[in-house]
Subunit: 247 residues, 2 copies
DNA sequence: ATACATATATGCTGTTGGCATAGAAGTGAT
DNA sequence: ATCACTTCTATGCCAACAGCATATATGTAT
């Protein structure tokens, strides 16, 4: 794709001509915990915004793909691997970071809460409950609450980022059973329904939910059934191996 | 939002510690021309990729919001103002630009073709027809064709960007009559239907399309009717002033 | 006046979502 | 063993809606 003309040009190219912004990735790691949608936040150890809760993030390395940067952040700051992750939006208000111009390429990731058990939570790393009202389609920050339901102090524009992640997720539910990404590999339809309800913040009709999910072709029965419940055990489903196309 | 602690920190902060990427915005300006979905491309005047067709774009200025940068590019490179524009995705493969690390925050914009009449097209700036097959949901480059239907030589990963713009647009049509953004302020329902058909690449049922659009609450009758057509004139509609919320 | 084209209204039908009912399949208490 | 209780799962009904056909309305062209 590169002509010899280009090669000559590249040798003389001075990449320092334009002033450059810093670029970070910030990851909205979502999980269902305590019947609520929660997000992993880390307490900022130093300035700026020291002590406030922020999304795990980091500067994108110069030779690193954006997706890889997001996965690296998940691994290094949350100890998580093999989770569903997808780019969300790029936040670039000039004053969003007091240091200098810092753009954030935001990602969101979905994980089974059970996989996050090993993540050491404490004063520095903790899950917080998300509340997102149903106003508008894109705008609006999320409310982030601690165990006692008190709002937490957050850094930068990270409430906006979480808000958009939830909105995106809500949109996706309309045409995809994405919920499975927040559940263990095998799950019952009712569990999946609860996930949808928690994300949407509304009740869902059980029968039509079942029909819709089964008709989507993205789920298949494992043959196994639930175990250790004090009622009739439900059939366990898994996501169908390589997912169907939409259209 | 900024403590005095931060102030002391900022004074000593050296923003040159981390190597930084360059950041551009590239805009996918879409319009319906000659019964097809077309995109405005500019021929690259110099290296890299000299002579190839590329999306209009430019480096983001250090004090400039991303949205503003996209609007600036539209104004300066396409002579267009007051069009629907929205952030699409950020493309950041490390090798996508041969010069150095360049990330592109891609936007897409929709404009009434009539407004673009004044855009001088020629050897340097031209609309090209888009073909996007129905494979997958996110992936896949668009085919870009010239007047004669021949594929054109494109720069960087811009075919991918155009492909994603069309996919995003197709998705939006499912829950919004976005098509009006590609039409003059007043339009008939059939015109809107044709826009949908061109974007989707499929035929649409006329009756249910009408019903759906009218039920969406986003359109209202102007009272005027079509003029200068050789058949019964249709009622003209416009987008309802401030748009309803979804959900 | 007539042909022609599209607009618009109305009705029929098959599909789908919301809802109710009933039997099935487990656990735990009596 | 039987019963109470819970959730699972299948089935049927009804209302809403998309696809389709038909009929009438309203303009231009000949």
């Amino acid at each position: 794709m590169q002509s010899s003309n280009d090669t000559a040009f590249l040798a003389s190219y001075d990449s320092a001509v334009f002033p450059k912004p810093s670029v970070t990735v910030d990851v909205v790691l979502l999980a269902i915990r305590a019947e609520a949608l929660q997000v992993l936040l880390v307490r900022r150890p130093g300035p700026p915004e020291a002590g406030r809760w922020a999304l795990p993030g980091g500067f994108v390395r110069l030779d690193e793909d954006l997706d890889d940067a997001a996965l690296r952040v998940l691994r290094s700051k949350a100890g998580v691997e093999n989770v569903y992750a997808e780019q969300l939006y790029t936040f670039g208000r000039p004053d969003r970071d007091p240091r200098t111009r810092v753009m954030s390429v935001a990602y969101y990731a979905l994980a089974d809460a059970a996989l996050l058990e090993r993540v050491p939570t404490g004063d520095a790393t903790r899950f917080h409950t998300i509340r997102v009202p149903w106003t508008g389609e894109t705008g609006g920050p999320a409310d982030l609450l601690d165990d006692r339901g008190e709002p937490v102090e957050t850094a930068f524009d990270h409430r906006e980022i979480v808000g958009m992640a939830v909105k995106r997720l809500r949109g996706k539910l309309n045409y995809t059973p994405v919920g499975y990404a927040l559940l263990p590999p095998q799950f019952t339809l009712l569990q999946l329904q609860r996930v949808h309800e928690i994300i949407l913040g509304t009740r869902v009709n059980k029968d039509s939910f079942r029909r819709r999910m089964l008709a989507s072709g993205e789920l298949e029965q494992t043959g196994a059934t639930q175990d250790g419940v004090d009622h009739r055990p439900a059939a366990l489903y898994r996501r169908v191996p390589q997912g169907g196309s939409h259209g």
